[in-house]
Structures are given as C-alpha cells and as structure tokens.
C-alpha cells in the first residue's frame, strides 16, 4: 500500500467507511431493489447490519488499543483512535441503533419514506465519527457539516407538515450561521499555527499570551460556533423550535447524538489546542453555563409541549456539562463523559416513550397526552418515571451519578458558587419533570383514546435504555472505569 493510504489508515477509517457505504447503499436500495412498501423491513435490517459491521470494527480497534496501549493516529495525524474517541463512538452507535429501531413504526404512522431516513441516520453518524476522531481542522469541519446537513434534512423530513418545514429552515439558517463562525475561528487558528493539525496548533497557542487579540478572536468565534452546536444559552434559540417541529424520533437523535458529538469536539478543542488560553475562555464558558441553566430551567417551567419542554431541559443539561469543562480537572472531564453517557440513555428513553404516544391522527406531543398512561401502558409509565427521575438527577438513577461528578469536580477546584447555583437549579428542574410524572400517574385521560401499539423494536429499545439508566446508577464501576480509561493520555 502507498504512503497515502496505509493499512493503519484503513484500520482507523474502516467504521466511517462502512457507515458511509451502508448509508449510501440504503439510499440506492430504497430506489432500485426495495421500492415496494412490503419490503421496507429490509431497509431497517440494512441499518442494523451496517451498525453491526461498524460495531465489529470499533471492537477490533478497542481490542488493539487495550493490547498495545497508546493511541492510533492515521492520515499523518488527521484522524486518531484513542479511548476517548471510542467512548463517543460507542455512544453514537447505540444511539443510531435505538433511533433506527423506534423509527420504523413512527414512519409507518406518518406515511413517510424509510430508505432515505435510515440512510441519513447512518450518514449523520459518519459525520459524528469525524467529530470525535478528527484531529485536523479540515477533517473536523467536513465531519461537522456532514452531520449537520444530514440533520437539516432529517428535521424537515415530514415534507407536508408546515411545522417540520419551519423547524428545518430555522435550524438550517442558525446552524449554518454557527458553522460559518466556527470556520472563521478555524481559519484564524490556521493563521496562528500555520498548520491545520490540532497538535501543531496546541504548540503554537501555548507560546502566546492568553489575552493575545488574534488568539482571543479565534477563541471567541470558535467558542460561539461550538456553543451554538451544543445549544447552550445564549445561542440556544434554534433548539426549542427544531426539537418541536422535527419528527419525534429525529428530535431524540438530535438531542442525544448531535449534542454528544458536539461535546466530543468541544472537549477536544478546548482542552487540547485552546487549553493554554484557559484564562480567556473560562469567563465565556462560565457565562454560557449559568445562562443555560437559568434559561433552560425557567423556560421549561411554562411549556405545555413535551418536546419543547425536553428541549429546554436539554439546554439546562448542556449548562451542567459545561460546568465539568470549567472545572477542567480529571474528575471534571470524567464527569463530562459520564454525564454525556448517562444523558444519552435517559433522554433517548424519554423521547422513546413520547414516540410511542404518536398514533394515527394524534401527535402525542402535548403534556396532556401523557394523562392516564399508567392505566393504558403501565410498563411505559414506569419507564417514563425512571427516565424523568434520572433527568432530574435523583439517586439511585444514573442522572445522579453524572451530576455528582460534575459537582465534585467544582468543589475540588474551588468553584463553590457555581456548585451552589447548579444545586439550586436541580430543585427547579424537579418541578417541571414531576409535572410530567403527575400527568402520567395522577391525572386521568379520556378513555376513548386509541391504545398504544408497541413494536418489537420499541420494546427492545425501551428495555435497553431503562436497564442502562438504572444500571449505571446502581452499579457504576464498569462505566467509571471506561470513562477513566478514556481520559488517561
């Protein structure tokens, strides 16, 4: 093999290649091989197959890292596979798989195309691969846009629904605005270092003063672009609209996958190359974290649409995760990883229950649609209770564990005020999560509502998310070890 594409390069890139290949193949198969409705099942099987192949590739990479130690760098340092990247790759894989499984019935109910949907899910995941593994500005930017553009289309997937159109348009306009800012920041970073590799940029940045105006400009534009992507206030305006208008399954994917990927990138950029400039970006992050918690919590209190409520709750969670970055010590970074992992499962689970509320002629998005769920589907109701308790951060669920490490790191680094503010907002968040709990258990709904139809895929997905949300809370050791491994360099 040539020096341009070595076997190491292939080994590192393989999962992304497989995802792109299966994604494109699903698009084509939908068109040529399985155009009839009765063959739709095969398209979902294709997605599962693609994920299984990618999973095997990730597993082989993980085994290699465990046996050889260190990390694998490919394409002259443009891509890297380390435990940190793999931690996120597994999250993306499980997320895509679960979203795919719960989407089948949702798409049937909404009379939408299947092939394009599954294809775009895999292409978005391919973009996420480059966000977590990219160590070169060009690679990162292209990966980010691959993910973002797939998401724009997915959000607007219900073409005949005005709300979906509108959500897609708003998401696209604000998303590309933020991508533009991010790219501007990247171009300045390139100018500072004369190289697009994160490693070289880190070396160049460390020789400069943190308050150097050019570096400040690069930091500010990159920071604003990334804060947009993680939907932290005051750059959160797109999130509630995009979450509300998008198909519920896509909202789940957006809230979990896109956010986890953006956090993977945020940590890589701000701990790595911009790490030496910490004094200048710390105030920005503190401001964003406090604003996110404030706006997320206060706006969520008045919402009646469950998807919008969870959107504000996700803004709130973004604030908490940022606190881990602000603390910045190993406990804090580990807290961020644990929080992202935990957030993935509890949020996926909550959206999953909302998705199964969607029936023909009923959107199932109002908080009143949750009424009487306990009578109709006790399994779903109990699962929803677990997810909401976990989102509020009450032990023994996993949500508590995420918050515990974040607060621990804040106390360790002496950010007492932030820790107190964070704790106070937990109390506020309990109010609106328990409004949903009350609707599920206490209030009674109309009795003539059509019953829930639950597919096999949804059952599996519900079981997995429920088990992990409780499991990580009750028996955290293996997950803590995994997170610890990911931050050891």
């Amino acid at each position: 093999m040539s020096v341009y594409y070595t076997s190491t390069d292939h080994f590192v890139l393989l999962p992304a290649l497989l995802l792109a290949l299966f994604g494109c193949a699903t698009l084509l198969f939908d068109f040529w091989v399985f155009p009839e409705a009765k063959h739709r099942r095969w398209l979902l099987i294709f997605l599962v197959l693609g994920e299984v192949f990618a999973g095997v590739a990730y597993f082989r990479q993980q085994m290699f890292l465990v046996s050889h130690g260190g990390d694998l760098s490919a394409f002259h340092g443009a891509l890297v596979i380390d435990h940190y990247a793999l931690f996120f790759h597994w999250i993306f894989l499980v997320t895509t798989l679960i979203v795919g499984l719960i989407s089948y019935r949702y798409l049937e109910v909404r009379d939408e195309h299947h092939g394009e949907y599954y294809g775009l899910l895999m292409l978005a995941q391919c973009g996420m691969y480059f966000l977590a593994s990219g160590t070169d500005l060009v690679t990162i930017f292209v990966g980010l846009e691959t993910m973002a553009i797939s998401f724009y289309i997915l959000v607007g997937f219900l073409r005949s629904d005005q709300r979906s159109n509108e959500a897609a348009l708003k998401y696209l306009l604000l998303g590309s605005f933020s991508s533009g800012f991010l790219a501007y920041g990247f171009s300045i970073l390139y100018g500072i270092a004369g190289s697009t590799r994160l490693r070289d940029i880190a070396a160049a940045v460390s020789t400069r003063d943190a308050w150097n105006p050019i570096l400040l400009l690069a930091m500010a534009t990159t920071g604003v672009g990334l804060l947009f992507k993680i939907s932290a206030a005051p750059f959160h305006m797109w999130a509630p609209d995009a979450y509300e208008g998008a198909p519920t399954t896509v909202t789940a994917f957006l809230a979990v996958g896109s956010k986890a990927a953006s956090f993977a990138l945020l940590l890589r950029v701000f701990i790595g190359p911009l790490g030496p400039a910490r004094p200048s970006w710390e105030p920005l992050m503190i401001g964003a974290a406090i604003l996110s918690m404030t706006i997320g919590n206060l706006a969520a209190v008045t919402q009646t649409n469950t998807k919008r409520l969870l959107a504000y709750s996700s803004i709130n969670h973004a604030g908490y995760i940022l606190l881990g970055l602000i603390a910045g010590n190993p406990t804090g970074i580990m807290g961020v990883l644990i929080y992202v992992l935990v957030y993935t499962f509890m949020n996926l689970g909550a959206f999953l229950v909302l998705t199964s509320l969607t029936r023909r002629g009923l959107a199932g998005e109002d908080i009143n649609d949750l009424r009487g769920l306990m009578k109709k589907a006790p399994g779903h109701a109990l699962a929803m209770l677990i997810f909401l308790v976990s989102l509020a951060g009450i032990p023994p669920t996993a949500g508590f564990l995420g918050k515990y490490f974040i607060f621990l790191s804040l106390v360790e680094t002496g950010h007492y005020v932030l820790a107190v503010v964070g704790c106070a907002y937990v109390a506020v968040s309990i109010y609106y999560y328990f409004r949903m709990v009350k609707a599920v258990f206490v209030e009674t709904g109309e009795t003539d509502m059509p019953p829930l139809t639950v597919s096999f895929g949804t059952r599996v997905a519900l079981g997995v998310t429920c088990l992990l949300t409780l499991g990580i809370g009750l028996y955290p050791e293996p997950f803590l070890r995994l997170a610890q491994l990911s931050i050891s360099r």
Partner: protein
Amino acid sequence: MLAPITTGHYLVLSAALLLIGAVGILMRRNVVVIMMSIELILNAVNINLVAFDKYLHKLNGQIFAIFVITVAVAEAAVGLGILIALFRNKETVLVDEIDLLKW
C-alpha cells in the same frame, strides 16, 4: 505610489465581510437574502485562509478553502430545497411570516 496590500488588509476585509454577513442574517427578512449572508461569512473564511497561505507560503489553507466552498454549496442546496418545501405549504419566504413555532 500606493502602499502594497498586506495580509493585514485581507484580514480587515474578511472581518468586514464576517460582520456584514452576521448583520445581514440578523436583520434581513427574506430567507434567500439570509442564505446569501451565510455565503458571505463562508467567503470571509476563504479570504482568511488564502491570505494566510500567501503569507506563510503554504497550501493547506487553500485546500481547506476548497472544502469550505464545497460545504457552502451543499448547505445552499439543502437550504433551498427546504425553502421550496416550505414555500409549497406556506407561500412565503419572509422569516417574520414563518411563525408557527415561537422563535
């Protein structure tokens, strides 16, 4: 005799383009004009990259610029597609009339 154009001039130009683009996105009502403003921002990035390349005598930035152009085109294509889907249902391209979801 005019002073030669330096990297600093290019950076000022690109900063101005970024500002014009940002103001355009925030102030204009027409979605098509907003998309043009986004193109302005991405072109500010390209000017930056090429100016730095000229200064540093390198090629990486120009390759980055080609990728930025490609991404801009993909984004515009998807954006116009979404806009047409919206226009079919709603018959407007003005952002203040697209108000089904609270901003």
